[in-house]
């Protein structure tokens, strides 16, 4: 029951984010979708991922997107259609992909599996796993984030020839 409410919240937020005309409104709807997804994670017993989802997506990514929208105000965009020129073919592709996915999920072996009791994932276990078994991936993700953020700053920096 709780899962259904969270799922409806998430899907409604995502659909509104993808269909609203005003970009700021669609980011607000996106925030609702991310928060609903975090609630689904908490409901599934993944506390750490749920809180990380709130911190990273609701906190950081949404703010980043709002700043990008404010920096790229398009003056003449309000009058024209919000859909791209090739939307009919692309929409068909999307519907076909969703149909295939839903059919595969419905006919897979996952629908007969017995439900196990809630597994335990305490902060201590996650910390141990991150520091021992997954230490190398953690280091690599740190390097990747550093490189990506330096690259983002370099790309977005105003070029010198342009300012003159």
């Amino acid at each position: 029951m709780l899962f259904t409410i969270f799922a409806i919240l998430t899907v409604a937020g995502a659909a509104a984010a993808m269909s609203l005309r005003n970009l700021v409104h669609s980011v607000l709807a996106l925030t609702v979708a991310f928060a609903g997804l975090a609630a689904v994670y908490l409901h599934l017993g993944a506390q750490f991922i749920g809180l990380a989802q709130i911190l990273v997506y609701v906190g950081a990514v949404a703010i980043l997107i709002v700043f990008a929208i404010l920096l790229t105000r398009d003056a003449g965009a309000t009058s024209q259609s919000i859909l791209s020129s090739s939307w009919i073919g692309n929409g068909t592709v999307v519907l076909v992909i969703f149909g295939i996915l839903a059919w595969a999920i419905h006919h897979s072996a996952t629908s007969q599996r017995v439900v196990l009791p809630q597994p335990e994932a305490s902060m201590q276990q996650i910390g141990n796993a991150l520091m021992l078994r997954f230490a190398l991936p953690l280091e690599i993700i740190g390097v990747l984030l550093t490189v990506a953020l330096i690259g983002a700053v370099t790309i977005a920096m105003r070029e010198k020839k342009e300012t003159r």
């Binding site: 998430t10 993808m18 990008a68 969703f98 439900v115 597994p119 990506a148 790309i155």
Partner: protein, 103 residues
């Protein structure tokens, strides 16, 4: 319907919505938002299989979701920087108008 099936269906629906936004919207920022939604759908799959899978105490699904969130954050930063750079060069974020590399 078992809980795993409903989780997977929710994830497939989110993926389809994100794909629809990425393919059908005209604004580059909305395309990026669609990609973020698709990444989140993948994360939900990891968590669902961790919760209902045979070996939850190994925490692999959860670790994969953590690293996936990290990569998605890096992707969002670089993507938005590219959009800002694109806007500075072409004064638009409409992806239909950015066609200077069209053959």
């Amino acid at each position: 319907m078992t809980p795993l099936t409903s989780c997977l269906l929710l994830s497939a629906l989110l993926f389809a919505i994100g794909l629809a936004g990425a393919l059908m919207r005209r604004n580059a920022i909305l395309v990026l938002i669609g990609i973020e939604l698709m990444l989140n759908a993948a994360n939900l799959n990891f968590i669902a299989f961790w919760r209902y899978g045979p070996n939850p105490e190994a925490l692999t699904g959860m670790m994969f979701a953590i690293f996936s969130i990290g990569v998605a954050a890096a992707e969002a930063a670089v993507g938005l920087a590219l959009i800002i750079s694109l806007y500075r060069h072409t004064k638009t974020t409409n992806i239909d108008e950015v066609n200077s590399m069209r053959g």
